[in-house]
Subunit: 224 residues, 2 copies
């Protein structure tokens, strides 16, 4: 990576090891020794003979010493610094639903995110086209455990039941939920209801942006 990792608040590392049980246990012993807090882990690459694990760490007082300790583990083949996902992809808005509306929500969200990102923010828009109560509810619940996810837009023409229950659950966990205006109990469960799909996508970005003067707490329960 050509970028300077010093600009990150986090220390982001790619660690190449053999693909075998016990690797993560050995690596985390080094983080424990350095009292580093792991905020993100991923198996970034799995090959037949090797595996690359990606870590984001905070509270690292001596990054070079930590990297040196990793490199001295027998299982470690290489350690490389990388820019963090938070820095590269930023906050995530998740759009879930089906049909014509979901594409139009994304057009609004992507156009608005483009305008914010040009001015230095980092907002991504992730879309999973889906139908069916069970699948929508599972996708809704999973948003709460997606890294960097801050808002969900439900874009469909009928959503309720288990999906509405999932909406209440993830709102409890701090996710902002927007819904198109539609039949079913999901609009009542959402923070904000917007009828036009492009406008709904735009408002989702405004709700999570740091630069927009749009306060979701003042909009809660409203319908546009």
């Amino acid at each position: 990576m050509s970028e300077s990792p010093e600009r990150d608040a986090l220390l982001a590392l790619m660690v190449r090891t053999p693909d075998e049980p016990g690797v993560l246990h050995a690596l985390t012993s080094v983080f424990l020794k350095h009292r580093a807090n792991i905020t993100h882990v991923d198996i970034a690459e799995r090959r037949v003979d090797s595996s690359t694990v990606y870590f984001e760490l905070e509270d690292v007082s001596a990054p070079d010493a930590l990297i040196g300790d990793l490199e001295s583990l027998p299982i470690v083949r290489a350690v490389e610094r990388a820019p963090s996902f938070q820095k590269v992809y930023g906050k995530r808005i998740i759009v879930v639903g089906g049909g014509a509306q979901v594409g139009q929500v994304v057009v609004g969200a992507v156009a608005e995110a483009d305008r914010h990102n040009i001015r230095g923010e980092k907002i991504s828009v992730d879309t999973i086209p889906l139908v069916g109560e069970e699948e929508l509810a599972a996708a809704t619940r999973a948003v709460a455990r997606l890294p960097r996810a801050v808002a969900l837009v439900l874009a469909g023409a009928l959503m309720g039941g288990e999906v509405a229950r999932a909406v209440y659950e993830i709102r409890e966990k701090g996710i902002i939920v927007l819904s198109l205006n539609m039949p079913g109990s999901v609009p009542d469960a959402a923070d904000l209801v917007v009828s036009d799909p492009v406008q709904c996508g735009v408002m989702a970005v405004m709700a999570v942006s740091e630069s927009a003067s749009f306060d979701i707490s003042r909009q809660r329960g409203r319908r546009y």
Copy 2:
């Protein structure tokens, strides 16, 4: 979660613990004992007094015994099974670029993914609107370490230099790269070049779909 996790090939677990150094090290000791392979880890939730870690494990022969061993650790407050991200969100296509084109690529990709997902596939479309050579190159390189990412679409009006080098690097790592037709060296570096942004999004989905009779290896180097 109301879904049966037995249908997953992977064992997916949410583990609630205090937010303190050493947690991951303690948890992985249980996985090591069970010779379970960790394919995904995330810090799903961080609160003042607790943290929830999400794991996807494979090669687990006795899931109930493994969960029991986790629960008997003093730091573990709760263990819950969950459907895996692979099952909920599936493969990811990443769209990177700026301006009018990026939204149109996403319209094509989301509409096509909707058609595939209705028939049982799981394909997501993740978009980060971005401009600038350094930022585009970083976003391109990061695709290779994003979980479940299989293809990248570069949607802009001028991309080359460091971005093209990043394209070659991630193609080496198995990521399929599509590019709009544009000035700069990125189209030459990509697997496939498509002039119309909606068509480009559609083809990205076809290239990663299991059901489409579209073989990227036969299309490599072509321009449409």
